[in-house]
Amino acid sequence: MTLASFLPLAIELGPQGFWWMNVLFLVAIYSLLGLSLNLINGYARMFSLGHHGFWAMGAYGAAWFTIQFHGHMPGVPLFLMSCVFAMGVAAVGGLLIGLPCLRLRGDYLAIATLGFGEIVRIAIQNSPREALGGSLGLEVPRVIMDVTRKTKADFRVLMVAIGFVLVALTAWAIRNYIRSARGRAMLAVAQDETAAGLLGINPVRSKVLAFVAASAVAGLAGAVYAHYQGIITPLEFNFMEMVKIFLIVVLGGLGSISGCVFAAFLLIFVEQWLAKLPADAGFFKDWWQVEYAAILVLLMIFRPRGIFGPREITDVWRDLKAKWAKKRSAA
């Protein structure tokens, strides 16, 4: 039995639909990465530049696990277990880098984590071919669906659905964590470590916890990404990806959950749209990286605290409704 039997069979997507499914899937992945980085750089106010490293660890962890146990167990449990394994690998990575580094502050933490992210990529790139594929990458067997010409569309739809369920779960978990005693302790440490310590909060433990949880989510994003792509190469997890994730967090507003998802959509859509333009599209195509940068600069000028600031989309919506109601009553 495959999962395909649960889906409306043979969804006709067409090239446009395929493109959209790809965009939406990437939005889900980058939302997961953004949400988890937001936990570190937004709520906990640390400055990590190594998130792409945990993403890569998750992707390669899942790929390795899937290759090892492919054929030894049914597809769906293998998929799930590879995701759990990936989260574990990334979480252990987060713990190992977090324990020594989280005593560093600001710029020093940024440099240490940046180094870590690059070490992960370079280590994979130079790994033996039979272990992690080296610079040629790893092929990930399809395990949850047989992907043929006929079911390619279904597979994409399924992965988009999985992606967004994970985004929703992560957003829910983060929101609840922030409202819990431990979560508020994390916010307190972010604002004033000394004062938090005086109240009985262990600042290092609070920071390491946030860091490890965020790494695990990045690892999960990596696992799903690896299963979707079917082949992963170390170069995909380069520093530009880190910049992209960081931009999503900043654009969305440090500490805003819905802002983060919205920013991921905006960034990925613009990027994919510009990249899709035909090669002879002239100015737009030739200058797409410049345009991409220009959009970011404009956003930072007009919305320096992010699209929503630290607020949620529901807050923005409530304010707008209040404004409209006021206008109507005035008229």
Partner: protein, 234 residues
């Protein structure tokens, strides 16, 4: 209750406390007065674990606590309302107070503490849902003391509660400090530049100069001491 014996504390290579010895008995209000930079704040920071002594002993209820981390020390019943108040400006008043009860896991006990703090400082109850940053200086000071009181401390360390606050509010805060001692039975070590007010409130006092205790006596006697009057009471 609290005894410091020959405590040396350094900032890097600079010696801030020179063999400092003080003691605070249960139920007392003891004040440490002295001018700027004399080592008052450093003393409190050393007791609450923000700094470690390089020499000497600090015992609290017969147990050595010198050099332990701050979060361990607060668990033993010493709460510190720090210099500059250090409230969480982005959190609401209520959330600030809840953070003070971080180590109290029993919800009803935490609620009881909250009610107690609201009784002590009714203004905090009125402002419960406001963010800490919107409070006036005096209210922030009340919040800092209230937050420290949330952990039900046996010993409360207060660092300059009168600093930068309107005189009328200072009166109010000092009345509340007295009330905390009387009604909660909390022992208080108070650091102040406003020596006159501090000595009027306290039972005993120490005068600290450049990291050394130069004088100690009953608070009333210090108030009448000509040398103290000249140096600190203007």
């Amino acid at each position: 209750m609290l005894v410091l014996e020959g405590v040396d504390v350094y900032y890097g290579n600079i010696k801030a406390l020179h063999g400092l010895s003080i003691k605070v008995d249960e139920g007392e209000i003891v004040t440490l007065i002295g001018s700027n930079g004399a080592g008052k704040t450093t003393t409190l920071r050393t007791i609450s674990g923000l700094m470690s002594p390089r020499a000497g002993r600090i015992t609290f209820q017969g147990r050595e606590i010198g050099g332990e981390r701050a979060e361990r020390i607060v668990a033993q019943g010493i709460a510190h309302s720090p210099e500059g108040r250090r409230i969480f400006t982005d959190l609401t008043v209520r959330e600030n107070l809840d953070m003070g009860a971080y180590l109290i896991h029993d919800k009803s006990a935490a609620k009881e503490r909250l009610e107690r703090v609201y009784t002590l400082f009714p203004r905090l109850k009125e402002r419960a849902s406001q963010s800490g940053g919107t409070l006036s200086g005096g209210e922030q000071q009340m919040l800092a003391i209230g937050r420290a009181m949330m952990s039900r401390p046996k010993l409360l360390l207060l660092d300059e509660p009168s600093l930068g606050i309107a005189p009328i509010l200072v009166q109010e805060i000092f009345r509340e400090i007295e009330q905390i001692r009387r009604e909660d039975g909390t022992t208080i070590l108070l650091v102040e530049q406003n020596a006159h007010m501090a000595l009027k409130l306290a039972d005993r006092g120490y005068v600290i100069e450049t990291g050394r205790i130069v004088h100690e006596d009953e608070a009333g006697a210090l108030l009448d001491d000509p040398k103290v009057r000249e140096a600190y009471l203007g």
